[in-house]
Subunit: 453 residues, 2 copies
């Protein structure tokens, strides 16, 4: 067994990097004190992992991790089984404790989480967080504080749960030229769409069930309207493209307008519906968008079902790659956070920050386009009279959009027909103009859904 | 643009870790000199990536990478378009050049690659390699030299090509308790099995085609007999389980005995055939095996086709995860190698080595079992007479093995039948005893293939 006597934490620079078995027996473990902000499900999960794996982490990394204190709203009402003697109701007892090396933020929501993280960084403490909202909206300020005070800021669990996508992009793929990220990054909407697809049920029906099962919040807006995915895409695309992609630049549409008919007709034409967070870059143009998307049913992302998350990456050198895993849950999230804690502990003297100008506004040399090119699924409810199909075709060809496949089916309403078409690649603006030019007396637009390959 | 004047390489410890845009303008770039061992496809790919991405890497990492020399067999006969003026035929000019910080080994094969890497490490140089064979067979010696001489040893590209599985396991998942890795790690055999599955063609037919297309070697033994996958599993399972899994401990079977009938009957029963590298750990027991395996056709690994690689990981906290990407090709391999080069450059003063005793023999407290439990697909050619099915069932139940599903079909040979059964979970030894107890006058065993979930 390895000796575990404490050493002067100031001496910790000797221990940057992992240590081999051969060296370890000669070197005292590095003691790292953690402070938690929040101690609910995720905090409890991290506490349990670090307790259960304490000896093993000591053996693997020569790091002796100790949880010194945890900020909670009310010690009396704390539901977690974390020992009450480490709990405090005073933020400053965590943020300003000179013993604490790393602050782990588990509060969720933008404030006061962001302000607390800011304070921790200003106190020279490294911060680990899974809070995509607080990070996406305050990243530039947090990064500036981290740089100024030589502190680390790590957030692997903020995108894709346990999937190591942040580290893969910032470390493993950092010599590559990434031009596309495309992710299923919200488990709630993926669960809802999967159930709608597999069972032909309505959105509201499946949402109500998901709420009962605890898979959707009582107020589901953040998930179903794509806000959560947009925060994550802001982080993911900034890192992938080495430039600041602010949340405001992201085109965002949720899944509330999706009907089982869209899904069924899409499937018939060989496509599966997912809420995707999409980032693409070419030279100085960036497009970032969160919306329901049809994917060919044999696309690797199309097969990622239920509450799984997955991120597809394309780059000039790596070509196509996909990482999938659990996007939520206390254990997977704890695994990602503890990976960050060890990484932070190993780089305390040499913190790692993103390699781009993370400013309040994006780099002015980058252009964000809302006139991207993709394919489109358009579902129309049309009068079942001679000439309608011709007028539809004319509206699209008038904007130089060619139709790749078309399906006409009798509608449930007599005298009407469902026309579903999938276009070849077209510009967003042209598509919208084509659709607006349809005669509203003959054709009603039921839905427009983008299609990716 | 950022200034690019050279600094004293001895000053490089100031630059461990990435640097932010804010700091970068004030700090001179860190100059890193590389030496290549070998300069064929992979070396050429790395050369091109580093040339094309030079300015971008400087901007991202503040590292100015320079390729100083490349060892080749014959400068006159070198086919690569790497400039001849950096080529040398003398190994020592690369291995002992005091300017060189990082040696990149692209020779392939065990020797002299392993001896050269050993020499480089002894000279205090960090080594980056994609050579699974040289690494798997000499890892303990190379690691000992790395530790003794404070050098780094990195090998992301040795398993799964560009898939960041080594770094994900050693860094991101280093607080987790991984109990299973299961990978498609050989593109040649995956291509052959995919073609056999999709087209019903014979092994020898598809192999000949793959050889023509350059997807299989003229002597395909290393791939088709599972040697390549076994080297990779030795590395992967050692890292996943934090203990030395030597190559000799791996049970290895190739794909040469697979017939289109096996694949067709398996598919009919809902399974897809893959050559898998499987590692499982429970307490002190480890099982490591490379063999053709049936997976349920909806398993994420079952859908990884052609020359793609993928690694499925299961852990106590992360639960199930899968990483997939290009396992070969000059560009994807170059991406992984250059990721390692940057990582190595950022940790020159603080090299990272695996956190376990990497010795010539495995840790004696770990037990390697060849009596694992799994399900089995057994294909029999039986006399089509009364009582045969009963005797088959009896042979299995006599060893307490229950049959989960069974298919009987007329054979092409009159008076014979094909009997295909899939068992519930059983021990390897019991299964083999059950099969040996079949009456050879009535039943011929056509194939036994393991089934994983």
């Amino acid at each position: 067994m390895i000796g575990r006597s404490e050493i002067d934490p100031n001496n910790s620079l000797r221990f940057t990097g992992h240590h081999s078995y051969f060296e370890r027996t000669d070197i005292m473990p590095k003691v790292i004190h953690l402070g938690f902000l929040g101690c609910g499900n995720i905090g409890g999960g991290v506490y349990h992992l670090l307790t259960e794996m304490h000896e093993e982490i000591l053996k693997r990394e020569n790091i002796d991790i100790r949880i010194k204190s945890a900020l909670v709203k009310s010690i009396a009402e704390a539901r977690s089984d974390v020992p009450k003697d480490i709990m405090t109701e005073k933020a400053d007892e965590v943020l300003s404790d000179p013993d604490i090396d790393i602050i782990c933020e588990f509060m969720g929501g933008e404030q006061p989480a962001a302000a607390f993280m800011q304070k921790a960084l200003e106190n020279g403490k490294t911060v680990v967080t899974a809070n995509k909202m607080a990070l996406a909206l305050n990243w530039h300020k947090l990064q500036a504080a981290a740089v100024e005070h030589h502190a680390g800021l790590y957030y692997e669990a903020s995108v894709g749960g346990v999937i190591p996508v942040i580290r893969s992009l910032t470390v493993s793929l950092n010599a590559d030229d990434i031009d596309q990220v495309m992710g299923i990054v919200n488990g709630t909407t993926n669960y809802i769409l999967t159930q709608m697809s597999q069972q032909g049920r309505s959105y509201s029906d499946v949402l109500a069930e998901a709420q009962k099962l605890g898979l959707a919040e009582p107020d589901p807006t953040a998930d179903v309207e794509g806000f959560d995915a947009a925060y994550k895409l802001s982080i993911l695309s900034s890192i992938a493209f080495h430039t600041r992609v602010t949340y405001e630049k992201i085109h965002r549409e949720g899944i509330t307008g999706i009907s089982p008919d869209d899904i069924a007709y899409g499937r018939e034409m060989g496509y599966t519906l997912k809420l995707l967070a999409i980032g693409k870059r070419s030279d100085n143009f960036i497009e970032v968008r969160v919306h329901p998307t049809f994917l060919p049913s044999d696309h690797p992302l199309a097969r990622v079902d239920g509450s799984l998350n997955a991120i597809y990456i394309h780059g000039k050198y790596c070509q196509d790659m996909m990482l999938q895993g659990r996007g939520a849950g206390d254990k997977p999230t704890a695994s990602a956070i503890c990976g960050d804690i060890l990484y932070a502990a190993n780089h305390l003297g040499t913190p790692i920050v993103p390699s781009f100008a993370n400013t309040a506004e994006p780099d002015p040399s980058m252009f964000f386009t809302d006139n991207w090119r993709c394919r489109y699924f358009v579902r129309l409810d049309a009068a079942d009279t001679q000439g309608v199909l011709g007028s539809v075709a004319g509206a699209f060809s008038g904007k130089s959009i060619s139709i790749a496949s078309l399906l006409q089916r009798p509608s449930k309403v007599s005298g009407r027909a469902q026309i579903i078409l999938i276009t070849h690649e077209a510009n967003e603006h042209a598509l919208k103009e084509a659709v607006s030019s349809l005669n509203p007396d003959l054709v009603k637009v039921e839905n427009i859904i983008r299609v990716e390959n």
